[in-house]
């Protein structure tokens, strides 16, 4: 099997769960897994820990110029690493940084590139993968025809498994030219300590049925008890009841949690497009005809203002 390089991302010094999935995916393909990580905020011990998920080696670009995700600079260094390591395959998690970076890498190294990959490749004849299309409403099976391949994997494409072991960490020189740093990132605004919606395993989402932003306390309370992220429907973010980054749907965040609880959301097709990769969907709506019930696994017809506080208490009691 060919040599595989995995681009891993970290946040606040921790390897992201989605990147661990990318490592697990690469391990699942067989062969040796080398990873590449950027910046000085992630510790050697955190990187060595990638061995526990299947990586044998970590290339660490330990250079503070890479602490911010400058797309062109990351692309240049990853392309350089693929060439130096003789890697035929690059695996990474779909993300706001990974996708634009991988597009540039694909051109640099002349690779076939597929994003939103949902399963391990089928290499019985050629190199085929399954990818999500039409915002989760269908799949396409595509063949990658170039010698080099890049796979940007969708959340839950691989299960993170602890396999034991430690990865060796090697310094890797960031070779990006000054011109690759022409994009100046002046400020980063990021919610810290919160569970991030795109990566959350549990999500509680509210819609217009909640009647106003002042009623979000009970959504946040339920989310807190569950350890869930909070989301909302498009009308709610359009009316500024909730911030834009909580908007779940066709043109907002697409979530793939284990559990999605929708409160007071009717289930317009554009909203469903953002949640159709969820493993389990609970719909709570006072309208028994709400279309969301057709896409749900569990449903309660009832007034959110009565059901949600009771549900929060029941979950507290069950924990």
């Amino acid at each position: 099997m060919s040599s595989i390089l995995v681009f891993v991302e970290s946040a606040e010094g921790q390897i992201k769960k989605t990147s661990l999935e990318a490592v697990a995916y690469a391990k699942g393909m067989g062969g040796d897994v080398t990873t590449i990580a950027f910046g000085t905020e992630v510790s050697d011990s955190e990187l060595q820990g990638l061995g526990n998920y299947g990586a044998s080696k970590v290339l660490h670009v330990k250079d503070d110029r890479y602490n911010k995700g400058v797309i062109q600079a990351y692309a240049s260094v990853i392309a350089d690493a693929m060439n130096k390591e003789g890697a035929d395959v690059l695996v990474l998690a779909n993300s706001s940084l990974g996708n634009p970076v991988s597009a540039r890498v694909a051109v640099k190294v002349d690779a076939s590139l597929v994003s939103n990959v949902t399963e391990l490749p089928d290499t019985s004849a050629g190199f085929k993968v399954k990818r999500s299309i039409y915002t989760g409403k269908a799949f396409a099976n595509v063949e990658l025809t170039k010698d080099k391949k890049i796979l940007a994997i969708k959340k839950n494409a691989a299960e993170v498994k602890e396999v034991g072991g430690t990865a060796t960490v090697e310094a890797f020189a960031g070779s990006a030219a000054d011109s690759d740093f022409s994009t100046n990132i002046t400020k980063t605004e990021k919610a810290t300590g919160e569970i991030l919606l795109p990566e959350a395993e549990l999500v509680v989402s509210g819609g217009r049925g909640l009647k106003g932003p002042e009623n979000w306390g009970m959504i946040e309370e339920l989310a807190k008890v569950l350890g869930a992220a909070t989301g909302c429907s498009k009308p709610v973010s359009d009316m500024d009841w909730r911030p834009h980054h909580e908007h779940v749907g066709q043109t907002g965040v697409k979530v793939s949690p284990q559990l999605y609880i929708a409160v007071g959301i009717s289930g317009a097709i554009q909203h469903l497009a953002g949640v159709n990769s969820s493993k389990n969907i609970v719909v709570i709506n006072k309208d028994p005809e709400a279309p969301f019930f057709k896409a749900a696994d569990y449903g309660i017809v009832g007034d959110a203002f009565e059901v949600i506080p009771k549900l929060t208490e029941a979950i507290k009691a069950a924990k």
Binding site: I71, S112, S115, K137, A138, L259, A314
Partner: protein
């Protein structure tokens, strides 16, 4: 300022998705096609930037003759002229290399498009165009303002955003809330009929993938309804049946 806006011609977001020809072709029967919603944001922002500081907007699509009404709609919204690259797009690389070929040496200050198409959701074309042309590519872009020769943007990151500045020319993959979608007015619709729409033959024929077949997800099982007075039952199901809490 010279702006190129690349748009996709995609099924309306409410469309039922189905396939024909042994699951090798999208079934367009009865489907309404629209400008990709993310591309529509990019176009709306381009129109605003032109209103502020002048210049021109060219709108481009890679597709067959059936996509021309979508290009005409973009002209009605405010683009000055249109280019249709006459080819059935096969993948991101195909589209990106054709766009880059048209844009090369054409002197665009900004090349805008949606963060992704809503049919294939690749999200790769802007980055590939940027790399082929050797200029910065930024995505997903939430705000875009121009100050002299510099573009100031907010890029969405997981759980927040980063503010960044880069000199033009550049490629940006756009998303809300960069601008409000614009609805063409009657004057726009009338003038769109006579604006130039140039058809260009493809010249690059690059691709990195071939389609094997499409498939639909398995049908969803029936919903289990729980009485509103018995939320403990829901908790029990989530804990012991779904095993998610």
């Amino acid at each position: 300022m010279k702006i190129l806006v690349c748009i996709t011609h995609v099924p309306d977001t409410t469309s039922r998705i189905a396939f024909t020809d042994g699951d090798k072709k999208f079934d367009a029967n009865g489907v309404q096609f629209i400008i990709g919603p993310y591309d529509d944001y990019a176009l709306a922002r381009a129109v605003e930037l032109k209103e502020q500081s002048g210049g021109s907007i060219t709108v481009l699509n890679v597709g067959g003759a059936e996509t021309e009404p979508t290009l005409r709609k973009a002209l009605a919204i405010g683009a000055d002229d249109a280019i249709r690259i006459n080819a059935e797009p096969t993948d991101s690389l195909f589209v990106a290399s054709e766009i880059a070929h048209v844009a090369k040496d054409a002197g665009y200050d900004l090349i805008l498009m949606g963060r992704e198409s809503i049919d294939f959701n690749g999200g790769m074309v802007h980055g590939m165009v940027g790399e082929i042309l050797g200029i910065p590519s930024i995505s997903p872009v939430m705000t875009l303002d121009i100050d002299g020769d510099t573009a100031k943007m907010a890029r969405e990151i997981e759980g927040g955003k980063e503010m960044l500045e880069v000199k033009m020319p550049l490629v940006a993959g756009c998303q809300e809330p960069i601008a409000e979608w614009k609805i063409p007015n009657m004057r726009g619709i009338m003038s769109a009929r006579t604006k130039p729409l140039n058809v260009v033959e493809p010249s690059q024929n690059q691709s990195g993938t071939t389609l094997d077949k499409f498939e639909l997800p398995p049908a969803k099982g029936a919903v289990k309804m729980v009485d509103a007075d018995n939320v403990a039952e829901l908790v029990n199901l989530l804990k012991n049946d779904a095993k998610v809490i």
